[in-house]
């Protein structure tokens, strides 16, 4: 693993530069959060977060100067996270919602307390008599 042979030492200016950039981006992200960009709200916030994260990973964590294996681990773990997010969400975005007519069937949980379902019917107690 010769790519790890020499230890990389960054100059202090790099660290302070990154720190300064992180501070600025934090202020920016907090400030823009109060403005409405329509469908891009999440993208802006996450874009800034990704930029900040990349700065930390590349410079504070020295990935920019690390060997291929470390870079591979970083990329692979992000890909795996992507698999977990991506394949879970495809279920949720494509589920057909079943919402029966509340006049026909008592709705569970949401607007009725759960026990009311069992309470009213089976004995024809309050409803029928």
């Amino acid at each position: 693993m010769s790519e790890h042979g020499d230890v990389h030492v960054s100059p202090n200016s790099t660290y302070f530069g990154v720190f300064f950039a992180l501070c600025v981006l934090t202020v920016v992200t907090a400030w823009v959060a109060f403005y409405d960009f329509g469908p891009f709200n999440d993208l802006v916030a996450l874009g800034i977060a990704f930029t900040k994260a990349s700065l930390v990973v590349l410079f504070f964590m020295h990935v920019k100067y690390s060997g291929r294996l470390v870079k591979l681990i970083v990329i692979a773990s992000l890909v795996w996270l992507g698999i977990m997010f991506g394949l879970t969400i495809i279920d949720y975005v494509s589920r057909e919602a079943v919402t029966p007519d509340p006049a026909v069937v008592p709705s569970p949980y949401e607007t009725f307390e759960p026990k009311s379902l069992s309470g009213d019917g089976d004995h024809g107690g309050d409803a029928a008599h």
């Binding site: 693993m1 795996w80 977990m84 394949l87 589920r95 057909e96 759960p114």
Partner: protein, 555 residues
């Protein structure tokens, strides 16, 4: 390593170098840690086996008269938890893996020996917590901990077991991490990736799953615990939480976990078939690549456990197709193992019996797996005994056959003793027959519609259940035998030579049992399966002489 040559005493090996209890409990030697694991998982296997026995006895009659419903629920849950989290997942990686990974790498030890010992302690703490749960009332959620049953409704020791599983999970994460680093950085000079024994490829793929998958189940089970104790409501349907999300997260790990159990077994089988055919394994690079391929594919198929939950039809279709892709690398392995025997010099010793038995059983397990991935069939057989039979074929017929095969193969190396070949052959046949008698009827039961986790069942299912229970008793005897003759062999077995099988591989070129430092002289790195190599010639001839001496010629 050469530095140790001058102090080497051939009578001292890793087992007899120090007899004190402390030297075992505080050992950093990967070979001794393998023993710590072997003893602990055997204990949990026996315990899990007793629960299995109770399940089969209960199901002998349709009425559910041996155990109360709650008692039965506890028994099958505990069977599952013990067998999966405390036996199967650590079995091959932690026992054979710990013993063999450094040996096969030509290294003195794993990369992080202290972490390795810590992993065993973490595993033990997890195990103790689960045992405490068993003693103080048991757990009845099923090993899958589905919410909201586990988070809100269950009335048993869910917290202890959840905590135990959570903690034991970190043991397998750390073991996986250790092996990955070891295989990457500790290989002897000249041991290139293309020369790696296939057992290491299997272990490598397994470790990938351990590191990337296990944390997800840990946090998921952690959330269930938080829901029970702290009142967090992440999966609570009363708040609009989705219990199916729990299942997604749970199976994100627990499906790959099946490959944690089976991939190392694949590695073992590759070694066994090659060694007993004395032939380079067929299509080496395809078997190696398919291990990693299965590990990766294993992560994108989890939702096939959710087809009946009311998940999206489109997502179900995607997952069904992805699942079927796993048939391809698996078939590659099957075919290559078979063709390895072509023009080989096949000897039917006990480990080979296990290997061929594995081939047959895993074939059934794998093919029914693809049937289950077929949407139209899965809807009917999901959560029935068909599924139970399928995963037992994979986990018992696959993983345990692989584990036992490997244990028989490397036992002379681990202990320096030979086990009685006749007994071991009998037990291998008993296990094969008993296993099929136990689980094949369950395929039919499942298709007939008998749901799993049933404590009482309609009468028409009884005949097949009787077959199954009868088979289980044969299987039980089959599993008891190795326990007896292995223990006996440690005390009174014949001394094992360096290489009793005439196998290739670095571990067969050091004394049995190995010295603490593994390699007394710099290991000569060769191709792992070059059976015509000079190095092997002398050893094979020695075996031939021994055999000729043992069997008086009748010709």
């Amino acid at each position: 390593m050469s530095a140790h040559t001058d102090t080497y005493d051939p009578k001292v090996n890793y087992l007899n170098t120090d007899w004190s209890i402390k030297s075992w409990l505080l050992t950093l030697d990967h070979k001794r840690i393998a023993w710590l694991y072997l003893v602990s998982i055997s204990g949990f296997f026996v315990l899990g086996g007793i629960f299995a026995l109770l399940i089969r006895l209960e199901l002998l009659t349709p009425q559910g008269d041996l155990l109360s419903p709650d008692g039965y629920n506890r028994v099958f849950t505990q069977h599952g938890v013990l067998m999966i989290f405390l036996f199967l997942i650590p079995s091959i990686p932690a026992v054979l893996g710990n013993f063999l990974v450094p040996l096969m790498c030509g290294a003195i030890d794993v990369a992080f020996p202290r972490l390795n010992l810590a992993s065993w302690y973490i595993y033990t703490i997890g195990g103790i917590l689960i045992v405490i749960a068993l003693i103080t009332g048991g757990v009845d959620t099923g090993w899958t901990f589905y919410t909201p049953l586990s988070s809100t409704y269950a009335n048993s020791q869910v917290m202890f077991v959840a905590l135990g599983v959570f903690i034991a999970g970190f043991s397998s994460i750390l073991t996986g991490l250790n092996f990955l680093v070891t295989i990457h950085t500790m290989r002897a000079p000249g041991l290139t990736w293309g020369r790696l024994p296939l057992f290491l490829w299997g272990t490598y793929a397994t470790s990938l799953i351990n590191v990337l998958g296990t944390p997800v189940v840990a946090i998921t089970i952690g959330l269930v615990g938080a829901e029970r104790t702290l009142g967090l409501g992440i999966f609570d349907p009363a708040l609009g939480g989705d219990p199916v999300l729990f299942q997604h997260l749970f199976w994100f790990y627990s499906h790959p976990a099946v490959y944690i159990m089976i991939l190392p077994a694949f590695g073992v089988i590759s070694e066994l078939i090659s060694a007993f055919s004395r032939k380079r394994v067929f299509g080496y690079s395809f078997i190696a690549a398919s291990s990693v391929g299965i590990a990766v594919l294993g992560f994108i198929v989890w939702a096939h456990h959710l087809f009946t939950t009311g998940m999206s039809v489109y997502a179900a279709t995607v997952f069904s197709a992805l699942t079927m892709l796993i048939a391809v690398p698996t078939a590659v392995k099957m075919i290559n193992w078979t063709t390895t025997m072509y023009q080989g010099a096949v000897k039917w010793d006990t480990p080979m019996l296990y290997a061929v038995g594995f081939l047959g059983l895993f074939l059934i397990g794998g093919l029914t797996g693809v049937m289950l991935a077929t949407l139209g069939i899965d809807i009917h057989v999901h959560d029935t005994y068909f599924v139970v039979a399928h995963f037992h074929y994979v986990m018992v017929g696959g993983a345990i056959m692989g584990f036992l095969g490997g244990l028989h193969f490397w036992w002379p190396k681990m202990t320096g003793r030979l086990y009685p070949e006749s007994f071991s052959k009998v037990s291998a046949v008993l296990i094969f027959v008993g296993f099929n008698a136990t689980f094949f009827p369950q395929f039919i039961l499942g298709y007939m519609g008998m749901p799993r986790r049933y404590h009482a069942y309609p009468e028409e299912f009884q005949v097949l259940n009787i077959f199954s229970t009868a088979g289980a008793s044969i299987l039980g005897v089959g599993y008891l035998l190795p326990l007896v003759y292995f223990t006996w062999s440690i005390v009174a077995g014949k001394k094992a030579p360096e290489n009793p099988w005439g196998a290739m591989g670095l571990e067969w070129r050091i004394p049995s049992p190995p010295p603490t430092e593994n390699f007394v002289k710099e290991p000569v790195i060769t191709d792992a399966y070059d059976y015509e190599h000079e190095i092997l010639k002398e050893q094979i001839e020695e075996i031939a002489r021994d055999e000729a001496a043992a069997v008086p010629s009748t010709a």
